[in-house]
C-alpha cells in the first residue's frame, strides 16, 4: 500500500455511489499519503471522475466515508467551513473549464479577487502573471480571453488557476486529454515539477500511461467500481494483475471487456 510513515491526506473508506440503476462506485478504499502523488487509472466511464468529485463534495456519495486530513469531507459544513475546506484544493479540469467571459489573468486570480482570500487588484494581477510565467506563459496572454488560446495554452492557464492560491491538495482530471504527445509531455513535466516544489498532495485521473509514469508516486487502478490494484509506480509493470497488465499494454485481449 502507500507509505505508512506519513499520515493520509485523503482517505476513502468503502465509498459507494450510484446514478439511478447504474452502480458506479462499489466500495472504493483508497489512501493517499500527505505530499504524495497518486494517479488513478481505469477505462473511460469507470467512475474515476466521480471519485474525484466526491472528495470535493461536488457529488455526494451514497455510503462510505471520505476523510480529508482526518476530517469528514462531507459533513456539517457551514458555508464558512466549506469555504475553508475548498480553499485547500486546486483543480485542473479536463477541458480546463476557464470562465470565458473573463480575461486570462482574472481566471488565474479568480480566488484572489473575491471571497476570503481577496486582496488588492494590482497584487492579484501580479500573482496571476507570476503563476502564468510558472506554467510557461508570457505576461502578454494575461489580457486575452480564454477562447483566443490554443488547447495547450488553456490547459496551462487552468494549471495556473489551480495553483494560484497555493493549495495543499491538487486534483488533475485527465490533464493530457486532447493534447498532442509533445504538449502532453510538457504538461506532465510541469505537473510533476509543481507538485514537488509546492509539496502538495496530488490526485490525478488519467488513462494516458505516459502521464502515469511522469506524474505518479503511487498508482491505483479502478475497475468494476473498486480499486483493483494499488502500489508504487515502480511495481506497476510487475503487478501480476491481468487487469493492470492489459491496461498498460493497451491490448484488446484480456479480462477487461473491449466494448463498454
Amino acid at each position: 500500500m502507500t507509505d505508512m510513515t506519513k499520515p493520509a491526506m485523503i482517505e476513502m473508506k468503502s465509498v459507494h455511489k450510484a446514478f439511478g440503476a447504474n452502480q458506479v462506485l462499489r466500495g472504493v478504499d483508497l489512501s493517499i499519503a500527505r505530499g504524495s502523488s497518486m494517479v488513478i487509472i481505469g477505462g473511460s466511464g469507470t467512475g474515476k471522475s466521480v471519485m474525484l468529485k466526491s472528495v470535493l463534495g461536488l457529488i455526494t456519495q451514497d455510503s462510505g466515508q471520505i476523510l480529508v486530513d482526518g476530517k469528514d469531507a462531507g459533513k456539517g459544513h457551514s458555508s464558512r467551513d466549506r469555504d475553508a475546506f475548498l480553499a485547500r484544493f486546486g483543480m485542473l479540469f479536463q477541458g480546463a473549464a476557464l470562465f470565458d467571459s473573463l480575461p486570462v489573468w482574472q481566471n488565474v486570480a479568480f480566488r484572489l479577487l473575491r471571497g476570503s482570500l481577496k486582496r488588492p487588484k494590482e497584487e492579484a494581477r501580479e500573482i496571476a502573471i507570476e503563476k502564468l510565467r510558472r506554467v510557461g506563459l508570457k505576461a502578454d496572454v494575461a489580457d486575452r480571453l480564454p477562447a483566443e488560446l490554443s488547447g495547450g495554452m488553456q490547459k496551462r492557464v487552468g494549471l495556473a488557476r489551480a495553483i494560484a492560491a497555493e493549495p495543499e491538495i491538487i486534483f488533475f482530471d485527465e490533464p493530457t486529454t486532447g493534447l498532442d504527445p509533445i504538449m502532453s509531455g510538457v504538461i506532465n513535466d510541469l505537473i510533476r515539477e509543481i507538485v514537488v516544489e509546492m509539496g502538495a498532495t496530488a490526485m490525478t485521473i488519467t488513462h494516458d500511461m505516459s502521464s502515469v509514469r511522469a506524474i505518479a508516486d503511487n498508482v491505483a487502478m479502478l475497475h468494476g467500481g473498486k480499486i483493483r490494484w494499488t502500489g508504487p509506480v515502480g511495481d506497476m509493470d510487475a503487478s501480476g494483475d491481468p487487469y493492470v497488465e492489459q491496461f498498460i499494454s493497451g491490448s484488446a485481449e484480456g479480462p477487461i471487456e473491449a466494448v463498454r
Partner: protein, 260 residues
C-alpha cells in the same frame, strides 16, 4: 388501457408536476436567500443590470411603439362602429398600461434574456465551469443566479414603465398624425383617465415577470443535460415555460388588481 393504469399514469404525471414545482420553489427560495446574504458580487450585479435592463431597451421600445400605434388604429376603427371614435386616448392608455405593456415587455424579456441566461449557464455547466466555480469557493447560486434575478426584479418594472410611455406615444403619434386628434386634448384625456392604481399594477406585473423570466433562465441552465442537445433543450424549455408562466401570472395579477 385499464382504468387502473390510466389512474396510475394520471398519478405519476401529477407527482411529476408537483416534484418539478417543489424543485423550482426550492430554487427560488435559495436564490433570494443568497441575494440577501454576503458576500455580494457587485460587478456581476452591474453586468446583469446592463444585460437585462439597458440592452433590452431597443427591443422594448420598438415593441411598444408599434403596439401602441396598432392599438390606436384598431380602437378608432372599432369605435367608429358605434360612434365612439373619441375614446382612443383612454383605451390606448388603459390597454397599454394595464395589459399590453407588461405582457409584451415580459414576453420580449423571456425571448431575449431568459434564452441567453439559460444558454450561457447551461454551457457553463456542460463545460464544467460551474464545478470550477465551486472548487474556487464561489457559490454558483450567489455568483450566477442571484445577480441575474435581482437585475430582473429591478429593471423589468422600469422597462415596463418605459414601454407604457412609448406605447402611449405610439398611439398618440398615429392618432394625431393620421386620425385627426388634437394633440393637447389627446394628452389631457390620457393623463386624466389613468389612475395611479393602473400604473402601480403595471409596475408590479413587471417586477413579477422580471423575476419569472430570469429565474427560469437560471433554473433550466443550472439543470441542463449534457452536450449541445442538453443546452438546446434547456434554452427551449426555459423560454417556453417563462412565456407560459408570465401569461398565467398576468391573468392572476389582473384578477387580484382589478376584480377585488
Amino acid at each position: 388501457m385499464t382504468p387502473l393504469a390510466l389512474l396510475g399514469r394520471l398519478g405519476a404525471a401529477t407527482l411529476g408536476l408537483l416534484a418539478a414545482l417543489g424543485r423550482l420553489s426550492t430554487f427560488v427560495v435559495s436564490t433570494f436567500s443568497h441575494m440577501l446574504r454576503p458576500p455580494f458580487y457587485g460587478r456581476e450585479v452591474l453586468n446583469a443590470l446592463l444585460q437585462v435592463g439597458w440592452l433590452s431597451l431597443p427591443v422594448v421600445g420598438l415593441t411598444a411603439i408599434f403596439t401602441g400605434g396598432a392599438l390606436a388604429l384598431q380602437i378608432y376603427a372599432g369605435g367608429a362602429r358605434f360612434n365612439a371614435e373619441a375614446v382612443v386616448p383612454q383605451i390606448v392608455a388603459i390597454g397599454m398600461v394595464r395589459e399590453l405593456g407588461p405582457v409584451l415587455v415580459g414576453l420580449m424579456i423571456a425571448a431575449r434574456v431568459t434564452s441567453s441566461i439559460a444558454a450561457e449557464i447551461a454551457t457553463m455547466k456542460v463545460t464544467e465551469q460551474i464545478d470550477a466555480l465551486v472548487t474556487l469557493s464561489t457559490h454558483p447560486m450567489k455568483y450566477l443566479v442571484a445577480p441575474r434575478v435581482l437585475a430582473g426584479l429591478l429593471t423589468v418594472p422600469a422597462l415596463v414603465g418605459i414601454g407604457d410611455i412609448i406605447g402611449i406615444m405610439g398611439g398618440y403619434t398615429v392618432a394625431t398624425q393620421n386620425l385627426g386628434f388634437n394633440p393637447a386634448t389627446y394628452l389631457v384625456n390620457t393623463v386624466n383617465f389613468l389612475e395611479i392604481h393602473d400604473v402601480i399594477s403595471s409596475l408590479v406585473k413587471g417586477a413579477v415577470f422580471g423575476v419569472i423570466a430570469t429565474t427560469l433562465g437560471c433554473y433550466y441552465g443550472m439543470n441542463s443535460g449534457r452536450g449541445a442537445q442538453g443546452v438546446g433543450r434547456a434554452t427551449k424549455s426555459s423560454v417556453e415555460t417563462a412565456a407560459v408562466l408570465i401569461l398565467a401570472a398576468n391573468f392572476v395579477l389582473t384578477g387580484v388588481f382589478f376584480s377585488l
